[in-house]
């Protein structure tokens, strides 16, 4: 092995990445070549200094606490979802065995479960999106209390134009908007402030399945309404009745525009 061949392998050898023949050859070369041996020593010496002098930052107790709190928060809802799948299959299998009537019955039940799951999933996803935006401090991409600023910003980035209302005189102050994805589709998110709370409202063209009314996911309330050809999905930690009234109010106001 000459220095040209060895040059490329010196670091890999210092990183213990060579085996068998190549390792044997480079070791032999290092014994006979001072230049390459110095390079090899350089990598080892730098490593020794890095490991001795450069701090390894361990997760602070506060982070452990935050992660534990996140786990505790999600505990209530996590077990509910995966259990649904086997149930649906059992229904379908049972239906096939029991004959035509039972099959039809199973189909009806299965469809209901799929619809219900779709709602469940979109609520869970909306809450996850809300939490992520809050934790990252990434709630607002276009900050404005003026609906005529927020609406064109959103319309320019989506294939639909979400109605935007300011309900400041009822206590819901428009703070701005951002883009998210919900069920793999880009969606307009309007951000409102209500007293000390933040409310995210996901606005998208009306989906095929009719949304159910109100759910609680990981301690957040999720309320739906439809109006003006749109689905309105609000996520917040404000009380369920306030949130539900607010989202219906938004949808009605949009419809009457």
């Amino acid at each position: 092995m000459n220095c040209n061949e060895a040059g490329a392998l010196v670091a890999a050898h210092a990183d213990d990445e060579l085996g068998g023949f190549r390792r044997h050859s480079i070791e032999k070369h290092l014994r006979s070549c001072a230049g390459c041996a110095t390079k090899h020593q350089g990598v080892l010496a730098l490593r020794a200094r890095l490991r001795a002098e450069v701090p390894y930052f361990r997760a602070p107790p506060a982070l452990h606490t935050r992660v534990r709190a996140m786990l505790a928060d999600t505990h209530a809802v996590a077990p509910a979802r995966p259990r649904l799948e086997p149930n649906r299959w059992r229904w379908l299998t049972g239906g096939a065995l029991a004959g035509c009537t039972a099959t039809v019955l199973a189909w009806v039940v299965g469809t209901a479960v799929i619809d219900w799951r779709a709602n469940e999933d979109v609520a869970v996803e909306a809450v996850a999106t809300h939490v992520r935006a809050t934790l990252n401090n990434h709630l607002i991409e276009v900050a404005s209390s003026d609906q005529h600023t927020v609406k064109p910003w959103l319309s320019a980035r989506l294939d639909y134009s979400p109605p935007v209302q300011d309900l400041a005189d009822e206590g819901f102050v428009l703070a701005g908007g951002r883009l998210d994805t919900l069920e793999k589709r880009p969606v307009a998110t309007l951000v409102y402030r209500y007293r000390q709370h933040t409310i995210d409202v996901f606005v998208r063209p009306e989906a095929a399945h009719a949304p159910s009314s109100l759910r609680t996911v990981r301690g957040f309330n999720v309320a739906y309404a439809t109006g003006a050809g749109m689905d309105w999905l609000a996520v917040s930690d404000v009380s369920a009745d306030v949130l539900s009234t607010f989202v219906q109010r938004l949808a009605r106001a949009a419809a009457s525009q």
Binding site: L50, A52, E53, P55, R58, P60, V67, M70, L71, N136
Partner: protein, 171 residues
């Protein structure tokens, strides 16, 4: 069945590794915590799809993704597209805790500063190799580049450190 036991078994043991990486990438205490928390939210969602038991490389991949998403929003200038000309001007003086810096000698401070000043793409492979002691193959998987690129970035990182004026001032 809940994903929590899998998360606790496969991800939580690597929280330190995730934080260390996020800390060296963001060079800031609070930002590192935010990135790791975001990574944990993602890891909890996808831990069901994790086959095998190599939670460390898997979690570090997620931390890295979370970091780059964070970086695109907060420090887009830092993501340099090109290996050869990447210049990192964003030097965060708060790369170390004040008390940590005080505990260590001026010399250590110099080396840590030199690492913190490495351009992002070199810093990440160096941290994964020298502090996390991962193999080229694992680093290639985490950084989503071929092994050859890992080797050239590592060589570049070492070269930059060995030539760093900070390091020589310390000697």
């Amino acid at each position: 069945m809940s994903q929590h036991p899998r998360f606790e078994e496969l991800v939580l043991p690597h929280l330190d590794a995730g934080y260390n990486m996020a800390r060296w990438l963001t060079r800031n205490v609070n930002d590192a915590e935010d990135v790791v928390q975001d990574a944990c939210v993602r890891a909890l969602t996808y831990v069901g799809a994790l086959h095998g038991s190599d939670g460390k490389a898997w979690f570090l991949t997620i931390v890295r993704h979370a970091f780059y998403d964070w970086c695109r929003r907060n420090r887009p200038a830092e993501i340099a597209p090109d290996d050869g000309t990447a210049i990192d001007l964003a030097i965060d003086p708060a790369a170390m805790d004040p008390q940590q810096a005080a505990l260590r000698g001026a010399e250590s401070r110099m080396l840590a500063d030199a690492v913190a000043e490495l351009p992002l793409i070199f810093r990440e492979v160096l941290i994964l190799r020298e502090l996390e002691e991962l193999s080229y193959k694992e680093i290639a998987r985490i950084a989503d580049v071929p092994i050859g690129t890992v080797m050239s970035r590592l060589a570049r990182a070492r070269g930059l450190l060995q030539r760093s004026p900070l390091l020589h001032a310390a000697r």
